[in-house]
Symmetry: C2
Subunit: 317 residues, 2 copies
């Protein structure tokens, strides 16, 4: 099976699981949960399933874990979207916007509960998977906490930024590759390599998100960038920008509060003039190159995971 | 050791665990988490520890599970208080009130993560405990969902009310007794009896909460009853009241929106005139008697759990 057919099949398998994950339960949360689970690229479960398939892990376990990961991801999106007051996610209206905040809080909680219940179905390596899942969960919370904490700061260092996105995104994608390797019974050394591989992918993924937010049109990203910018949310590009001229970035944000388009255009112009867009692209490539170097250390029979790296590199939304 | 000394000791053990549960991590969630964990009677962990001690379960495991239960309980309180917009909990200002909603959502999430991480420390019966913990979590979410769903309904049946409080409170207290019995390696039959015992205690506990809200002064309950009443939150007493005269209850709620004291006084008067306060007291006693009958079926060497039932019966806040 070629790579694209394979990931389409994996996506389909996860979608089937998600379509059946919450058929009963109170209407008030069942409807929003099923609404929000329709969207998404399923990048995370696919990585878990690809890793498992690369090393002959149990396929059924990889579907279970993949589904739990996608639920974990959605739990964090539902709650983050309330906190950041984003109204669109994956092309669909967010829960707190379509319904209200209490329903969104509760739906997020229930989605996390569904993820945990899903892991109950594992037969082998259950303890290890649950342990790593829980460690990932607290990292996600802490990453989001830092993200909010940083809003209040005028500027942060690149090191602080990387630490924040690793927690917010890196560890979860690290867990995707790690869990795939655990159920394939790989050595601890190989597990750590794959975990780190995923973590770097996640880092590149998040920086790419920051980049795409600036260079794509809003519709394609499917989330509102306006609120993020006005709130002085830190991105790879804004952190780099502030190294050149922090006061100018302040001005752009200030301007955007009265007139978003003008303020944001000034900011974009600044990023182009200071070569920050191109530098960001180079950084993403460098990180993905680094992640592939970790794969080189593993004896793999095929190039599936390298193709996955490429998939991330080439994504346009 | 006499009963009171024992529960004081157990409470102290859980408090020590909770005091040390989250020393690092981002300020933005560390402070609110440590703020909210200071309050509470620790009824739930105490039941788990008492059950375990009754049947010679491993003490250390019971402390771990007890701590996780108290964290689970606090997770649900933090989020419920946002949804219901309650400003005081256990005599302390709630997180969303003292800080803000995003911080409260995130702190709740992190507290649940801490509960799950705590369970990772179990050595024996880990799988069973985690499985039951996760089942409890989804019930709590569904109970709260029903609670919100019922706000929109003018009236609900007593069966619907009991189903809602069982999910919101009963299953969690059922889990306290159940988990204590699992780590004591009791037979499945005894485990089920204890689970049911706890569930009934929880049911009585919740009805008692409804009752105390009406008969105590607000300070003692440490939570705001005003918002609950205005929102037409269903309670055992209001469900019973509506059997007599649903339109009158509507009128009291309507009145309370302009003038809370008057509207609520009319409601209280109505409950007294229709004997609903006394009937509620009788119901609580009946349920607790029923729960004790389940204990009778177990061969226990001491009367500790009966004393716990009594403790619940006699609580005044």
């Amino acid at each position: 099976m070629n790579f694209n057919t394979k990931i389409d099949k994996y996506r389909e398998l996860v979608n089937i699981e998600l379509n059946n994950i919450y058929k009963d339960g109170p209407n008030i949360i069942r409807e929003p949960i099923n609404h929000i689970l329709r969207g998404g690229k399923r990048f995370r479960p696919i990585l878990c399933m690809l890793t498992s398939s690369c090393f002959n892990g149990d396929k059924n376990s990889s579907i279970i874990i993949g589904t739990a990961i996608e639920l974990l991801h959605n739990f964090s999106l539902i709650h983050d979207d309330i906190m950041d007051d984003d109204n669109v996610r994956h092309g669909y209206e967010t829960i707190h916007s379509k319904w209200n905040k209490p329903i969104a809080i509760l739906s997020g909680d229930a989605v996390l509960a569904l993820a945990l219940l899903k892991l109950n179905n594992l037969e082998k390596y259950k303890m290890e998977i649950i342990k790593e899942f829980n460690k990932t969960l607290i990292k996600i919370c802490e990453g989001q906490a830092l993200d909010i904490e940083f809003e209040k700061k005028r500027s942060i260092s690149m090191k602080e930024y990387i630490n924040m996105i690793d927690k917010k995104t890196g560890y979860m994608i690290g867990f995707c590759a790690l869990s795939g390797s655990i159920i394939s019974n790989l050595s601890v050394e190989s597990q750590m390599l794959l975990k780190e591989y995923g973590k770097l992918l996640g880092r590149a993924f998040q920086i790419q998100d920051d980049l795409l937010e600036v260079i794509s049109c809003e519709d394609k990203m499917g989330k509102s960038l306006e609120s993020d910018f006005v709130l002085n949310k830190k991105t790879f590009l804004s952190v780099k920008g502030r190294i050149f001229d922090s006061r100018y970035i302040d001005k752009c944000i200030q301007k955007s509060k009265e007139d978003f388009k003008t303020g944001y255009s000034l900011y974009k112009e600044f990023l182009i003039n200071h070569n920050i867009i191109d530098e960001t692209k180079i950084t993403i490539k460098k990180i993905l190159l680094e992640s592939n170097k970790l794969l080189d250390k593993l004896n793999m029979e095929n190039n599936t995971l390298y193709k996955y790296t490429e998939l991330i590199l080439n994504r346009r939304y």
